[in-house]
């Protein structure tokens, strides 16, 4: 399958406010040397805690922020260096669905205008616009008579459908869904997850699905990247990641999920606080249950431990022996 998106060694730092006029400027690294790729009609899930750089990465792909270094190739073309017409064309290929459908839709525009806006900006012929509009309403499951209504007349789930229709309007190749279900009610979340899946099969789009809800990510993703403190620490196919998590951070995340099965108690969560300035090479060192000075001080990179299973941990080779397969026990 063709790679639709390739992120190569992308980094992004943000300048922090100076303590005083003479002090040196400090930086906050939001994305640190991240490389990922996305194949056609696949879903890449990105999980991590707040502040781990998930959304910044999404912004870089959407060209809302420019990376400090690295390349982002969409269909082989680098969006970070594109200009003018080429940039406009590339931007059509990536669209976004935001977390909160209450604030991401303009309250003064009706549904028709919201969905048509991207088409108008890209100068699609009028007749074509109307056709697209009606087929979009159909595919996201909104009634045809809602065109003149305003966002406040809809419920959260329906608003998210409008946002999805807007994202689909330009037939993008990649849709970035940044926490698309976390502000919705439990009974509505499943509706939106199903809709996203159905659209993926019908329109052959690829998703980047960002969420902190691991069970939702697992449900929808083909491949999952786990981010911790600006870096990707583990990358594996969804099923493999859940069966056999190798990075201690991934294990912590998985153990923290509250399972709706009362027999499956999550009792084995350890709260670890190692000395905070021990290891510069691994961002997770302070909270790592396996921390050991000898190994963790050395540089480590994302390396392939098993086929298509990448881990960034100096101890990952030994860990297999420590934890074993999750399935076996």
């Amino acid at each position: 399958m063709k790679k639709i998106l390739e992120i190569k060694n992308v980094s992004k730092k943000f300048a922090l406010r100076k303590d005083n006029f003479f002090s040196a400027r400090k930086f906050f690294t939001a994305v640190d040397n991240v490389s990922l790729s996305l194949k056609e009609n696949q879903t890449l899930g990105i999980v991590g805690e707040s502040g781990s750089g998930k959304t910044t990465l999404a912004k870089l792909i959407l060209d809302i922020e420019k990376p400090d270094s690295g390349e982002i190739l969409i269909d082989g073309k680098d969006i970070t260096r594109a200009k003018g017409k080429e940039l406009k064309e590339l931007r059509r290929q990536t669209q976004v669905i935001f977390q909160d459908p209450y604030s991401s839709l303009n309250p003064r525009m009706n549904v028709e205008n919201i969905i048509l806006e991207p088409l108008q900006i890209n100068k699609i012929i009028k007749q074509e616009q109307i056709k697209i509009l009606h087929s979009l309403l159909n595919s996201v499951g909104l009634p045809q008579n809602c065109l003149k209504k305003y966002p406040h007349e809809f419920s959260g789930g329906q608003r998210q459908r409008i946002a999805i229709a807007r994202a689909l309007a330009l037939k993008p190749k990649i849709i970035i869904a940044d926490e698309p279900i976390s502000s919705l009610d439990v009974s509505i979340q499943a509706q939106i997850l199903n809709l996203l899946k159905q659209i993926k099969d019908e329109m052959r789009v690829s998703y980047i699905f960002i969420s902190h809800d691991l069970s939702a990510v697992c449900h929808i993703s083909d491949k999952i990247a786990v981010m911790n403190k600006a870096a990707v620490v583990e990358l594996a196919p969804a099923e493999e990641l859940f069966k056999n998590p190798l990075h201690p951070y991934t294990q912590l995340l998985l153990n923290s999920v509250c399972d709706a099965d009362p027999e499956n108690k999550n009792d084995d969560i350890q709260i670890i606080q190692n000395d905070s300035n021990l290891s510069p090479s691994c961002a997770f060192a302070e909270r790592c249950p396996l921390y050991d000075q000898k190994h963790c001080l050395s540089e480590n990179n994302l390396s392939e431990v098993k086929k298509e299973h990448f881990v960034k941990c100096a101890l990952s080779s030994q860990k297999k022996a420590l934890y074993g397969d999750r399935n076996e026990n």
Binding site: V186, S187, N194, K197, H219
Partner: protein, 326 residues
Amino acid sequence: MMKPLLEVKNLSVTVNSDDKEIEILQDISYKLYPSQTLAIVGESGSGKTLSALALVKLLPNSVSISSGSIIYNEKNLTKLTEDNLRKIRGSKISMIFQEPMSSLNPVLTIGKQISETIMAHKKISKTNALNQSAELLEKVGISNAKSRLKDYPHNFSGGMRQRVMIAIALSCYPDIVIADEPTTALDVTIQAQILKLMAKLRDERKMSMILITHNLGIVAQYADYALVFYAGKIMERAPVNRLLKNPAHPYTKALLDSLPKIKHGQNILKTIEGNPPNFEDKIEGCPFHPRCGEVMEKCKTSLPPEFKINNEHGSKCWRSKATKGY
């Protein structure tokens, strides 16, 4: 049978808006036993938060209790004067709210905010109150507690702030802690830590807890008994294990089916069609019938009473009448 610590009987709550009276909680009855964790589950707008606020009469101005009683310690809380109620609120029954940033006062130090509660309920000197505050902070897992008393809420992270909230809630050794979505604003790893901490303190102090949440995972892990709320009514009540393994009400079943599960493959999820009702909508019969997959003609016209499936398990559904005794 143990004596219940708190008993809510036929509680109804109404809101007055534009000369209309709308009943937002209808006929809520339940018992809370000592050392029990009772979960109240429901979607937004189902009345789960209001039902807890009503216990300590922290209701907004336009909302009032229209009938029913809340019995705690042989006293009816609905009949108590504001002064007497204030003695119970915060000391015997305390609350932990969802958003720790907005429930802490940003311009007062943490020490001031914890000792304030202690001093309001006990005759104690300021220094002693501060010392107790430090002990409490230590208890909820904040290191260097003494020096952190002088910090302001913005110096703490989200998880730490929630710990401070817990410290305040526990400061007067309450019998009942009401936790309203205590971890919704937090990351999963922090959520697990906070819930564990609350469970540990609950066991140490033999408190009862009312845990309000929409997350069935949290219910499964931390609660003993659960009430499922929908449109201001209790649709189903059962011990947690039974509720999740053997739900009787179609709403509970559908809710459980719609959860994505980590271990299962990527099939299409079952969904509940439609949206949860607004409390202004008048629905004839069972409030869930427009979305119910097992709807019958009877459901559209008359509200089912609660059928007892066994001593501890009740379900407000006409279908449960048929399956009664299974």
